[in-house]
Symmetry: C2
Subunit: 351 residues, 2 copies
Amino acid sequence: MAAAHEPEVIRDKAAMRAWTRRRRAEGKAVALVPTMGYLHNGHLSLVSAAAAASAGPVAVVVSIYVNPGQFAPTEDLTTYPSDLAGDLRKLAAVFCPPDLYVRAGDGRPDAGSSGGTVSCLEQAGGGYGHETWIRVEQLEKGLCGSSRPVFFRGVATVVAKLFNIVDPDIAVLGKKDYQQWRVICRMVRDLDFAIEIIGSEIVREADCLAMSSRNVHLSREEREKDNNLKALHRTRSARKNGNPCCKCRYDDFVHSMALSISRSLVNARTAALNGNNHSQQIQDQIVQTLTEAGDSSIKQRNFRNPFDVNADCELESLVPLERVDRPAVICVATWFGKVRLIENTEIQAPP
Amino acid sequence: MAAAHEPEVIRDKAAMRAWTRRRRAEGKAVALVPTMGYLHNGHLSLVSAAAAASAGPVAVVVSIYVNPGQFAPTEDLTTYPSDLAGDLRKLAAVFCPPDLYVRAGDGRPDAGSSGGTVSCLEQAGGGYGHETWIRVEQLEKGLCGSSRPVFFRGVATVVAKLFNIVDPDIAVLGKKDYQQWRVICRMVRDLDFAIEIIGSEIVREADCLAMSSRNVHLSREEREKDNNLKALHRTRSARKNGNPCCKCRYDDFVHSMALSISRSLVNARTAALNGNNHSQQIQDQIVQTLTEAGDSSIKQRNFRNPFDVNADCELESLVPLERVDRPAVICVATWFGKVRLIENTEIQAPP
């Protein structure tokens, strides 16, 4: 979905608010697609969903902002992939704000931090910096929240900021980041935002790998830097072929490991729909599929938290279930070297 | 400030949003005065400030909602004073919403709580109830926050909900509740609400007591139920007169104690402006004034936390200061029997 002309690039809050007022005065609904940029076809499917979200005319704006509020100081804020020029070519209207967080030193005589993460800003002195956070207290804790304690706090907060700046009627989020989607839905309900949230389905590559900005790190170049993956590849090659110089191609090896996530979810879903609905059994089956793909030596090779499988969670609250006997979602997170991939599958109507 | 005609009473969210759209279409700015009802002249001064907040026409709406999200289960939610009929006579447009919190059992087959506080709802099971809270992480901790840990979380959250429902251009809050005012200012800045917050000055009774809904509990009838106050009165009478049947009137006694707060603040402010700006000295002087008014035997008589004096805090961050050498606020909270009274004084331009 390429823009036919130069995109409209909005760079500050006041201009963004004025843009929305103009579009609304033209009788259009305003739809926001919040992103961190480096857009792929998954993002563009959100833009299409936004444009089609109302029977009447819709003005769609995509925000591009790598949110320092959702990264812990140890995480990859500075290496998050970026391609603003490429992104702009794909869009019609873009909100590219400057830093959205007030830093302790901003406009104040006392020294303060600037740039970098803001996750722990409330611990810094001064008392002038950003310190307001939105907590969705149960939903933020499970699944990815257990390993990334400030993540959903940062996501909810920046999305609320974007909602207050853009003032949209509609917002579209991808259901690939399922917990994030549920956190935002709950925040909108609990804080009475007058915004319709649309969850858009997962978009996949031709080979079924779910699209993600982090897939770029699965490239040959990136992977070859990864000693864990190399070691694992050598181990598997040695076992299969009796010598360390294997016949399977390195690219194929990594890609098949990544693909095993979606394969395991398809199998789990089929099993649940056929009445094999014990969560523990479903989980064991997924782990087995992933283990076979990744070789049973993964744990010995120091892969971090190789399989974070949650079979199954209630669809809306994400509370763990013993059986898939009501609408549920199965979530999987896996580290491939330094890349964390997540996927999920909904089971809307279990037998 | 009595309304000349029947007030417009708005009872649900959709009607409230429609009201704001109509007023805005008429070219008016919309100003919100959030209250918990039981209106006194202090509240009505906020309504006047709201009406005068813009050069153009302003439509003012007062919300009346005793927020269950800011009371701890041990606090006085059910006994908070109320007089809706009396309130409505004083106003032109009122938003009186039903319960604004989704309870775990609402519309769900599983049982859940309904009514009562929601401060600790996230600890209950279910996962369907309200669980989104706004934390202003530093400002919420000090002063009143240290004795009421869920209070400012609940205030910030309900004000954000009201902002999202009413969608005002302006909101007016009283500076008597100084920390609350600063919490809301910070939330608005940090979450990018497009709302101008006006802090309205303290309004006093003819005798200088700051107006508060809780003053009603200082009535003779309420006070006579209070054994702590009676005992203190007897002690002081006995000391002064040599016998337990004192000459000072009970009403005057309690009132003079309450008034000692404002007297102590006037004295502290004068001292600071005269260059006696050591916070510890200012604090000691306030405590001395209060102690003289309340008799030095207060602590022995089991008054809870009799003097919660914070001299002095930086004006915006409420960070404690060693000296009043920059804009500051002095805050005092005192228990009189079962009533907690708070007051403050700003020092905008210390010498």
